[in-house]
Amino acid sequence: MNRRPLEEISAVVIGASAGGVEALGVLLPALPARCRAAVLIVVHMPRQRPSLLKDLFTARCPLQVREAQDKQPVEPGTVYFAPPDYHLMVETNEDASVALALSVDEPVHFSRPSIDVLFESAAECWGDRLMAIILTGANSDGVQGLAAVSRLGGITVVQDPGEAVADTLPAGAVRTGLAQHVLPLAGIGAMLSQLGRAP
C-alpha cells in the first residue's frame, strides 16, 4: 500500500508506558514549530491528579501542550495528553471537524488511558492521514491499535526494541509485521521534524 508523504499527515498518535516520559523528552522537542499535525499521546502513568505531563513538556516542546478535555476541538499543531484515568478518543462532528472524546469505560489491558483505544479511534477518524508511534513499554497495550492504524492506511512507526527501556511493547508491535519503520528515537525524531514541511 502506498502511504502518504509526511507533510500530508493530519495527526500523530503516540503510545508509551514504562520509560515513556524519557522517550518523549527526546521526541517532543523535535516537533517543528510549523507542524500543522495534531499530536495525541497516551502515557501509562499512576492514577493521580493533576497529571504532571502537561507541565513537564510545555517548556520543552515548540507546540502548544494541553491535557485533553472532553469535546475540545482538535487544533492543528497542538499536543494533547490523555488525562489520567480516562480513555482518550477522537470523534468526527457532523461538519467534519474533529473533537476529543473521553470515556471511563473499563481499562483495556489493565490500562486507562489505553493506547489501543486511542489508536483505533484515531485510525477510524484519520485513516491514511494518521501516523502512529509505539515507544517503550512493558505490556502489550498498543499492539492491536497499531494493527488498526496499518489496516486503515496510516503510517506505523515503532521504537527499536533494542534501544527501548522496556521492550515488551515495541517487540510485540514489531512481531505483528505491520511496523513500516523500526527506528531509534533519533530516527523517529528526524521523521517528526519533517511534519508540516511546506509541500
Binding site: Q69, D70, S103, V104, D105, E120
Partner: protein, 274 residues
C-alpha cells in the same frame, strides 16, 4: 457525502433501538458507542452491526444485556477524592444555609456516587434535611443502586478514597459486612429516591440545590450534552451547584454563560442565570 458502511449500519441500529424499544442512543458520542457495540457483537456472536440489529429487533430478551453493555458505568465511591473534598469544604458551608436540601445525582448507574454524597452529607449533619434523587435509564442498575450492596473487596478502595476526601471517621460506620458483601445503611437510603429518568427524553422534575453528574456527559454528543446541561440549569435554584467529571468542561457548552466556575480544578460550577 459518501458515508462509510459502518456509519450507516450504526445509524440504522440506533434508529431501530429507538423505534422498537424507545431507548434513544441516537445522540450519544459515537466513539464510545462503537466500542461498546463491538463488545455486544462479540457477546451475541454477530459479525456486523446489521446482524446485531436483526437480533435485537427480533429478540427483546437480549435488551437487558445490551443495556448493561451500553450504559453501565462502574465507578468507585468517592472517586476523585479532591472533588468530594471540595464539596465538603467549599459547597457544604453554603448548603447549610438552606432549611431543606434536594440533590440530584444524574446518571447514578449502580449508586456509588449517590451513596458517597449521602455519607458526606450525613457526616456534615445535613442528611436529615436532604432528599437525594438518584436517576438513571438502566433499570437493572437502578435496582442495584437501590439495594446499596457492594462486593467487600471493593471496600478498601472506597475507604481509601473516603479518607483522602476528608471523610470523618471510618467508612465502616455506614455499612454492614456479611457474606462477602457490604450493605450500606438504611439511614442513608431513607433520604434517597431512585428513579428511572432519561437525560435525552425526560424533563426537569424538581428544584434542587446541587446536581452531581460525573462522567456521564462524556458519553453524549455536543447536542445532547447541551440538552442535559439545560435540564440541570432549569432544575437548579439560583446559586445552585453543578459538579461534573474532572476532565469534563462546560466551556464547550451552549449554556456555559448560565454558570460561573466555583471550584475550577474540581469542576464545580454555580448557576448564575437562567
Amino acid at each position: 457525502m459518501n458515508e462509510r458502511v459502518g456509519d450507516i449500519e450504526l445509524r440504522l441500529l440506533l434508529e431501530a433501538l429507538y423505534l422498537r424499544y424507545h431507548y434513544d442512543f441516537r445522540s450519544y458520542a459515537r466513539s464510545s458507542l462503537r466500542r461498546r457495540l463491538r463488545v455486544a457483537m462479540d457477546k451475541f456472536g454477530c459479525q456486523s452491526l446489521s446482524q446485531l440489529q436483526h437480533r435485537l429487533l427480533h429478540e427483546a430478551a437480549l435488551m437487558p444485556e445490551l443495556m448493561n453493555i451500553l450504559t453501565v458505568q462502574v465507578t468507585d465511591m468517592f472517586r476523585d477524592p479532591p472533588y468530594f473534598r471540595a464539596l465538603r469544604e467549599r459547597v457544604v458551608p453554603l448548603l447549610r444555609t438552606y432549611p431543606s436540601l434536594k440533590v440530584w445525582v444524574a446518571g447514578c448507574s449502580t449508586g456509588e456516587e449517590a451513596y458517597s454524597i449521602a455519607i458526606l452529607l450525613k457526616e456534615e449533619g445535613l442528611l436529615e434535611r436532604t432528599l437525594i434523587y438518584a436517576t438513571d435509564i438502566n433499570t437493572v442498575a437502578l435496582e442495584k443502586a437501590q439495594a446499596g450492596v457492594y462486593e467487600i473487596d471493593r471496600i478498601s478502595g472506597f475507604s481509601e478514597n473516603h479518607r483522602k476526601s476528608g471523610g470523618h471517621g471510618s467508612l465502616s460506620a455506614h455499612y454492614t459486612a456479611a457474606y462477602g458483601k457490604a450493605a450500606f445503611d438504611r439511614s442513608l437510603k431513607a433520604h434517597m429516591t431512585f428513579a428511572d429518568h432519561s437525560l435525552s427524553t425526560d424533563s426537569a422534575f424538581s428544584e434542587v440545590q446541587l446536581v452531581s453528574c460525573r462522567n456521564v456527559l462524556i458519553y453524549f454528543s455536543r447536542a445532547l450534552q447541551d440538552r442535559a446541561v439545560e435540564l440541570f440549569r432549569d432544575s437548579l435554584c439560583y446559586k445552585g451547584f453543578l459538579g461534573i467529571g474532572s476532565s469534563e468542561s462546560l466551556r464547550f457548552s451552549a449554556h456555559s454563560a448560565s454558570f460561573t466556575e466555583f471550584s475550577v480544578d474540581d469542576r464545580i460550577y454555580q448557576k448564575v442565570a437562567s
